[in-house]
């Protein structure tokens, strides 16, 4: 299962975080700092999988943003790696070309989209159209 998903920019600032395992704020903070700096230090030629304590960390970089996912040992690395891309594409579809600021200003929407895709650390939905349409449905109710 997935343990957490963190979004950070290349200056190491955290932009979004969702945990599927209970951790105290202190533990979360150390984990965030350590993992983000670990990922930032890696070059393009290095592989996208890192070990951190007893988690496997899979990360992917999009321009200035790092998408970092921690999993237990039961996950398929490439599947997680492509899940990140699927998530990014879904965000792109919703925000029409997503950027760091979109995420920052719409934390709740990002949470909603992620909640549609992952529940309790398990991938439940990969169909981008379904995900986007259910979030849009809420927007429409609001705007009416």
């Amino acid at each position: 299962m997935l343990k957490f998903l963190i979004l950070a920019n290349k200056r190491g600032q955290i932009r979004f975080a969702q945990y599927y395992e209970h951790m105290s704020k202190d533990v979360q903070e150390t984990l965030e700092t350590e993992i983000i700096s670990k990922c930032l230090l890696r070059s393009e030629s290095q592989c996208s999988f890192v070990e951190y304590k007893n988690s496997k960390v899979v990360y992917r970089r999009y321009a200035a943003m790092y998408f970092i996912v921690g999993t237990d040992n039961e996950e398929n690395e490439l599947a997680v790696y492509e899940f990140i891309h699927n998530f990014v594409e879904t965000l792109t579809k919703y925000f029409s070309n997503v950027c760091e600021l979109d995420i920052l200003f719409n934390l709740d929407r990002v949470h909603m989209i992620l909640d549609e895709m992952v529940v309790n650390g398990h991938i439940v939905e990969s169909n981008q159209a379904t995900i986007v349409s259910s979030v849009r449905a809420i927007d429409q109710v609001v705007n009416r």
Binding site: S48, F83, V124, N127, D139
Partner: protein, 948 residues
Amino acid sequence: MPAVKGDGMRGLAVFISDIRNCKSKEAEIKRINKELANIRSKFKGDKTLDGYQKKKYVCKLLFIFLLGHDIDFGHMEAVNLLSSNKYTEKQIGYLFISVLVSANSDLMKLVIQSIKNDLASRNPVHICMAMQCIANIGSRDMAEAFTRDIPKILVSGDTIDQVKQSAALCLLRLLRQSPDLINLGEWSSRVIHLLNDQHMGVVTAAVSLIDTLVKRNPDEYKGCVSLAVSRLSRIVTSSYTDLQDYTYYFVPAPWLSVKLLRVLQNYPPPEDAAVRTRLTECLETILNKAQEPPKSKKVQHSNAKNAVLFEAINLIIHMDSDPNLLVRACNQLGQFLQHRETNLRYLALESMCLLATSEFSHEAVKKHQETVITALKTERDVSVRQRAVDLLYAMCDRTNAEEIVAEMLAYLETADYSIREEMVLKVAILAEKYAVDYTWYVDTILNLIRIAGDYVSEEVWYRVIQIVINRDDVQGYAAKTVFEALQAPACHENMVKVGGYILGEFGNLIAGDPRSSPMVQFQLLHSKFHLCAPATRGLLLSTYVKFINLFPEIKPQIQDVLRGHNQLRNSDVELQQRAVEYLQLSTLTTADVLATVLEEMPPFPERESSILAKLKKKKPDSVKENAETKMPRPAAQVNSFPEQPHPIAMPEVHNEPNQDSADLLGLSTPVPTMNATPPKDSAAGLLVDVFDTLGAMTTTTTATNGLTPGADEGFKRFLCKNNGVLFENDLLQIGVKAEFRENLGRIGIFFGNKTSFQFTSFTSEVSLPGELSNQLMVQANPVDPVVDGGAQKQQMLNIECITDFSEPPLLNIQFVYSGAQQRIALKLPVMINKLVESTEMDSTTFFQRWKTLSSPQQECQRIFKAQHPMDSEQTKAKLLGFGMGLLENVDPNPENYVSAGVLHTRNQKVGCLLRLEPNMQAQMYRLTLRTSKESVSKELCELLESQF
């Protein structure tokens, strides 16, 4: 400023922009505090906040939380949002609660009530939000509240797909949280049949649930195997247009395929032939697709395809039954080893590790050895190199061990610091496991120390010593090699330890060569002495005293070193004590006693390598692969140290047994370090261990005389030793350190408070019941009445023996712990054998005296059955510990043991002779004591009898 989606909250956007524009951390904190104060006053004062405003503030709090600030208010407002009918308000409320409210919060009751309302509503969006909240928090209370509703929602026909998805994961969460509360019972088959659901999203969610259920109870959910196989088969054979939106870059439902392949890894290969064939076809199709030209140049396409491929290979390895598939998988991974994508190389190395453990594919994996070694040398990413090391370790066997170990050693010189320690362990294990020629093993380990000394843990150098001691064919070589290694001007401290130990045991094997004569060996070791840490110096001191035994010709030089101020007045008590005791040992005792005490170490019991245990602890997975190799490789059988299931810890320091004996013999000097060293029972290694088990095994007599339970056992344990733990319970540990000389004794009693609270009104008094008051004089200084939590207090006793005695003095301890009076009554370990000093005599004298003591009053004889294994080494050790020494070459029958000593009391000296005759066939002993005094013969005989 980018638009905020939905109902644009301008206040929020402004706040976020403000934060982003802050020039410094201080400014940011200031802005945040201002905002927090603002929100707090809004929540407190203004009762007319509407839903929109609450939502805005909660959003701000979420953002502040994300920036790393803890939020301690706003929870109630978030709970209020739950009852709003507006989606976004409700959603923000749930979000805040999922992220910020802990499962044991007081608010949980309110939250659960809101969730109940939402679940009961007809609105699927509300139901989904409520269930996601359960899935995210999943507390025990929630499990209790919803354990009936959720399964019904999940399998009910009229539930919409999206709700089913949430319900599946919600149930999964509750199952993890409170497995005892969830019993699906009749629902289980309907849950399995969700695998046939039309909606791929529902199947994706259901597989996760089923995987967890299967892990709990494989038999109950066996039916899922055939369903999973047919679902997989339909996906694999579908064209990419069939699944429409669930096709990801021309790969049909990659995440679902991966999950299905995972579920199947919970079971052995399907028993049903048809299912099995279908599964094999699936796996073959997946392997075939890997060879087809890609449908897209996009990396997403190949990644998704390979995700499924790797999971299929995992299943093939898991089933481990079809050689054809295994070899195909291996070839496929072989291709990936040289792929330009680093990710694929990494994963291929990882999967191949598993393949190496299968008997069908082990040989196929070995074909890639060259490629893997190249990867180790050329990969630019340490994670990948790490995987290459793992694979080399897994593919190693008798045929390639020398080459692989050599490569790993070569790599170690430049290896990344982060993986050195693990590599050292791996090299050490491989070298031991596949050594045909133990000289190669010794060379390898010494190289290891030379190259990466800092990363060589205790386990590694303990192990090489164990092996050298147990294998006499390699001892001479080992001595020669360490001697050479120590010649290096700068050698690692671990090398000094191994060198010191081995030369101390086997230095004599190379002493014939003038280039490594005793004096040269000694000087070589001593040249390193001053550069070493205290622990190593202690080890070297033991080596020196062993040299005195091995090479009497250099005794004066060694005694000079021991006598030196650096040793005798060393501030490190351990070193000081060793120096004092070794010096006395070498000065006072005869060559025979010296030879017995400092004899070569007996072979270590065969046990699982502690290195392996350490590696297992470090990396549970990677060792399993190698250690439990499924293939009965010939090499594994040749290993001379069969791996036993119980890892046994190494004794802390090996050469301490002689230290303990030295305590017994080094009587003439009062030990100056007495009060500084806490009593340590475990530190004394083998000799004491023998007695510990003895103490534990002797039959316990019931404490009828008001003694605290355990008093007798503690007392008996001290018959053959002077230091150790006399008594221990939850509150208090009592240690004893005793010295006897002629008719005098000095006993240090150490009271250790094991709790974190004070003991008050602490007293400890010695009483001499009955006759004893005329036989012994005991002088005790008072103890401090307060013993702080975790502290240790000591009491010193001076004892004088007036005449022989048979009952021990009693020790009464009283104190108050948390208001309650505590009372402990123990036997003080003072027996007459403590006052016996051994005497040397030759055979003629012995038997002359033996004859003169032949009257029935002077002799006491017992014939008894052996209660312990009749091991001659143990018997000798016990007799030496008893205090009467051991005379060699005295009894015409070499099986027998004889001792002689003098009992010192103020009134008289009593000569004592002892003879112990074992009868191996009958498993019996005859023990005879002859002394000039009847009561002494009787008492000594009784004391000693219980020991065999």
